[in-house]
């Protein structure tokens, strides 16, 4: 379905994840963060950029891998994106929800 965010029309799935990363920009990210009741600090952006790069390199994301990345440890990841950090962070980053599991 289509959704208007920060003046841009984006396509999202039924859970609100962008289906086309090319439609993402920083303003869209800020707006998605607001929907999750978060305001983004430079530290958030470092993590979001890391997640986007992993996505571009076709790396399957998991909490474990993020924790061992050297970018952020799991405790801080939770502090930045409370409750379900990987799900929240990937949504804001405009990349698919990790299919960590079969």
């Amino acid at each position: 379905m289509e959704k208007m965010i920060a003046g841009t029309t984006v396509t999202v799935n039924e859970e609100g994840y962008l289906t086309n990363f090319a439609q993402w920009n920083k303003a869209v990210g800020e707006e998605l963060a607001k929907e999750a009741n978060l305001s983004l600090t430079p530290r958030h952006w470092e993590v979001l950029t890391y997640l986007q790069n992993e996505f571009k390199n076709d790396v399957a994301l998991s909490i474990r891998r993020v924790g061992k990345s050297g970018v952020v440890d799991i405790k801080e990841f939770y502090a930045l994106f409370p409750n379900a950090p990987l799900k929240t962070a990937t949504k804001i980053a405009g990349i698919p929800k990790p299919a960590s599991c079969i």
């Binding site: 998991s62 909490i63 474990r64 799991i74 405790k75 409750n83 599991c101 079969i102």
Partner: protein, 411 residues
């Protein structure tokens, strides 16, 4: 004479030994299979041990019984796979050259990955049921347990048989009802996922069943530690859940051998082409079953479907022909739901489990994603099929290696 070596004589390796013994010319190829163990365990049976439904003798046979004549079985530990030099180095120091290698070393639990999991309460009030020892210790505990808070917990994905913890939960509900003590037990299902299962339609059906049986669910729980003194589990977000009895599925990992050999990812799974089952690093190495990193379920049924396709690809590789990119992630699992009933799910990489009929479209007799007695009979019959057909590489009638779309209700 050329040599093909299979590492691991579990479900996947044994099936492959049987397939290849039929297909390869014994004048040209020598086949060896290596495992350090001597017993073959029917792993799906671990689920039934804690509830006294199966006894140990129902699930243990010898490895040698299932290795065909013409395949040489070596009982030995493996130190390293020296892939650049095409050789396997045994713990004894002996090096074996191979022309083709099949890795089927499986996956195992690694409770040491979580702080405090293998602590003072391990096998006292904290149990796994993914090992024979764990399942047996849990059986002894359940025989005398008087009730309290039971947590059934998954540490992180991927795990072997992703439906097993749910089945354990349903069987526990049924077990305590039969013992007339269900009112003394509070059952909670704790998962790192956002729902009961990884696929939406099955999640809906399974959550309905959990609700019906009075089982609560705690989702998105990423465990940080087990606190042995206060008997509680704590997640990275600070959420705490107390327990009297914790039944956990620890982190699953591939064999340490992969780390020693430089062949594994961060969980010791071997990076593998998901359609051809060839290693991404070395063309003369193939990977079967739980040992690979392909995004399919880690389950015996998957290994069975893979084995049919891998056999063909090994023959093509030997002839220098292009490999068939055919494996679709097909999995087929019975899910015990307690009280003599079960569900059946059938799915692959791209199609989630849905309702329908199986194996004959529109006929059945098995119903997909619906509880029934006949599905439960299917689950119990499966043990016979496992020992008598599956391990021997016999094709199971009417069930194809790739998933059938007919008979399934997709949207």
């Amino acid at each position: 004479m050329k040599r093909l070596i299979i590492l691991g004589a579990g479900t996947a390796g044994t099936m492959m030994a049987n397939h290849l013994q039929h297909e390869l010319d014994s004048n040209e190829w020598e086949i060896q299979i290596i495992d350090e163990r001597v017993e073959h365990h029917y792993q799906p049976g671990y689920l039934f041990l804690p509830f006294d439904i199966y006894q140990p003798e129902d699930i243990i046979k010898s490895i040698a019984e299932f290795i065909p004549k013409g395949v040489q079985l070596l009982t030995a530990g493996i130190q390293q796979i020296d892939a650049p030099n095409n050789q396997v180095v045994l713990k004894s120091g002996e090096a074996l050259h191979y022309d083709l290698l099949i890795i089927a070393t499986g996956a195992k639990i690694a409770p040491e990955e979580v702080e405090g999991m293998k602590g003072a309460e391990w096998h006292k009030s904290v149990f796994d049921f993914y090992t024979f020892e764990g399942a047996l210790a849990l059986r002894n505990k359940l025989r005398e347990w008087e009730g309290g808070r039971l947590l059934v917990h998954i540490t992180e994905m991927p795990i072997k048989c992703p439906v097993a913890p749910l089945e354990f939960t349903f069987l526990a509900d049924s077990f305590f009802k039969h013992k007339k003590m269900r009112d003394k037990v509070e059952i909670t299902y704790v998962t790192p996922l956002s729902g009961a299962f990884t696929k939406p339609k099955a999640t809906e059906a399974l959550e309905h069943l959990l609700h019906e049986k009075g089982i609560s669910i705690e989702s998105d729980f990423a465990i940080a530690e087990v606190n042995n003194e206060e008997k509680k589990i704590i997640d990275y977000g600070g959420r705490e859940i107390p327990f009297d009895l914790l039944v956990t599925v620890p982190t699953n990992k591939g064999d340490e051998l992969m780390a020693r050999s430089g062949l594994g990812d961060d969980l010791n799974y071997v990076p593998t082409n998901k359609a051809t089952l060839q290693s991404l690093q070395y063309t003369n190495i193939f990977v079967l079953g739980d040992a690979s990193n392909i995004p399919a379920s880690k389950a015996g049924s998957v290994a069975h479907f893979e084995a049919e396709i891998l056999t063909e690809n090994i023959l093509r590789f030997i002839k220098g022909e292009p490999l068939k990119e055919e494996f679709d992630g097909h999995a087929n699992c019975f899910i015990e739901t307690g009280n003599g009933k079960a569900l059946l799910i059938d799915f692959n990489y791209t199609h989630e489990p849905v309702e329908g009929s199986f194996p004959f479209p529109g006929v059945g007799p098995l119903r997909l994603l619906k509880e029934s007695r006949i599905n439960h009979m299917g689950k119990l019959a499966f043990r016979w099929i496992y020992w008598n057909m599956l391990l021997k590489g016999t094709h199971i009638p009417f069930v194809s290696a790739t998933m059938q779309e007919a008979g399934k209700k997709f949207d």
